[in-house]
């Protein structure tokens, strides 16, 4: 059985679901804990590596998931407003 994308450090985000400005805002909010490295476009989606800073490596998976939820919340708020 494979590991889900919620545990992996590499993600593919569709800009129509996760607007780049929401990803940027989330990256700023989480800058203390992790950094986001773009890894190019993959069939219309944006590739991202979520790199948790060494000081927080014990909570690596948790922080990635919280970051992802944060981006999704921002994105949905934007979609529902428009």
């Amino acid at each position: 059985m494979a590991t889900s994308i919620l545990t992996a450090g590499h993600l593919r985000l569709d800009p129509s679901l996760y607007p780049p400005d929401c990803v940027g805002a989330a990256a700023t909010a989480y800058a203390e804990f992790l950094r986001i490295e773009p890894s190019g476009a993959e069939s219309g989606a944006v590739g991202l590596n979520i790199v948790v800073l060494p000081a927080f490596s014990a909570r690596e998976v948790q922080l990635r998931r919280e970051f992802l939820n944060y981006v999704l919340d921002l994105a949905i708020q934007g979609h529902l407003r428009s």
Binding site: S4, L6, T7, R65, L72, D73
Partner: protein, 154 residues
């Protein structure tokens, strides 16, 4: 169906969904494939927004009219993930219905709000829109419905 001390157990997504619609992962996450044509993005966003309270969620890039939603309960328990997924799928139908009803009743809701803030009537007693041009053209003493006309008592 398994019975529990509190009655029959609810069918869990892994057991109740057709083969291929859901997939379990090693970390306990569950991935569900959903047809966008059926649910639509607005309903999906609303259901996901409620879901993020209790679980971590990822939406994959849509492909071939399908979108994959991967979720895992914040507790990390597989049973919690299954229950949340079941609740999410029901909520999707609920939200889709709300979106549809919202569209169907948009015109009357806008009229009611307009009436609430308007200085003059924009809808009559029967709920029909009032043509303000026609109304303003009427002179005092006009009796378009003939209410003041004398009629013999039968």
């Amino acid at each position: 169906m398994a019975e529990s001390a509190h009655g029959p157990a609810s069918p869990l997504p892994m057991n109740s969904l057709p083969r291929g619609v859901s997939q379990r992962f090693e970390d306990g996450a569950l991935r569900v494939s959903l047809p966008l044509e059926v649910y639509g993005l607005p309903a999906l966003f609303r259901a996901c927004y409620r879901l993020t309270d209790h679980s971590f969620v990822y939406l994959s890039p849509p492909q071939g009219g399908l979108i994959e939603v991967t979720l895992i309960a914040k507790t990390g328990q597989v049973t919690d993930t299954d229950q949340l997924a079941g609740r999410f799928l029901n909520d999707l139908i609920d939200q889709r219905l709300r979106v549809d009803i919202g569209e169907e009743t948009r015109a009357i809701r806008e009229l009611i709000v307009a009436q609430a803030f308007a200085a003059v009537d924009v809808i009559d007693d029967q709920g029909s829109p009032v043509d303000q041009r026609e109304k303003s053209a009427a002179e005092p003493g006009d009796d378009p419905q003939g209410l003041t006309q004398w009629r013999p008592v039968s």
